[in-house]
Symmetry: C2
Subunit: 137 residues, 2 copies
Amino acid sequence: MNSEQDQFSAIMDGWNSNAGQPVGNCPVRGVLDKISDKWSMLLVMTLASGPKRFNQLRRDIPDISQKMLTQTLRELQRDGMVSRKVYDTKPPAVEYSLTPLGHSIIVPFGHLIRWANDNHPHIDQARAVFDTPSDPA
Amino acid sequence: MNSEQDQFSAIMDGWNSNAGQPVGNCPVRGVLDKISDKWSMLLVMTLASGPKRFNQLRRDIPDISQKMLTQTLRELQRDGMVSRKVYDTKPPAVEYSLTPLGHSIIVPFGHLIRWANDNHPHIDQARAVFDTPSDPA
DNA sequence: CAGAATCCAATGGGATACTG
DNA sequence: CAGTATCCCATTGGATTCTG
């Protein structure tokens, strides 16, 4: 019970320096902003089950465009989350896989996904209530 | 060790039905997309330390515009994460606070923030390496 | 197969002015 | 104080076409 509070405090201490301080240019925000694009998390989770080739990823994520797949893979590669390996065959084969860093983010992602999975009915209900114009008495 | 693997498997089972199935219209994605906007997570974490009034939030998050603060608060309220309480004084006071649902998401957010805090140097380094034009031998 | 390049529509989001 | 309303720009991202 108390250790949970301690853990939370540690998180908040890392989050902002102390009581009510503005969040400002926290380097954490840069990282979270990157994660917050439309496809990064989805791509990481798709690669979590093992290395995949380009068109395999397209099939696994049917609604991603080729442009965004390429672009998001490049960004993840740049951030050291994804490794790109080219087999110089004909036609060429390119295999994408998670680096150790990329693998490590699966854990916090997993927590978030689990939370979303557990609570989306609650959210849907809250929306329905909120969107109810008003209860005419 | 093994229980960690079991937990991961459970996450992935919730994520997609089974081996290599497309992610498609997973309700989890709708929740995660909402979280993935620029301000939601920041606002939730700012409210984590307690209820705050409108202009207090503006001061705590100096770089949010009034438009986005209002808009994000409305969305969080609609999703049942934030509660809005109006004190009909003059001038009016409005207090925002996390609901139990909103409070519950602090935990997975905390894991992500902790990960970002732990790994952003690693990411910065990876970027520097990636952006190095080429090592001229 | 694995992309690069271009065009264009939709959305996000800031600045500013006004209100109860 | 706590918003609403409008304008407008920047970014995101899809569709399409082309290449080694």
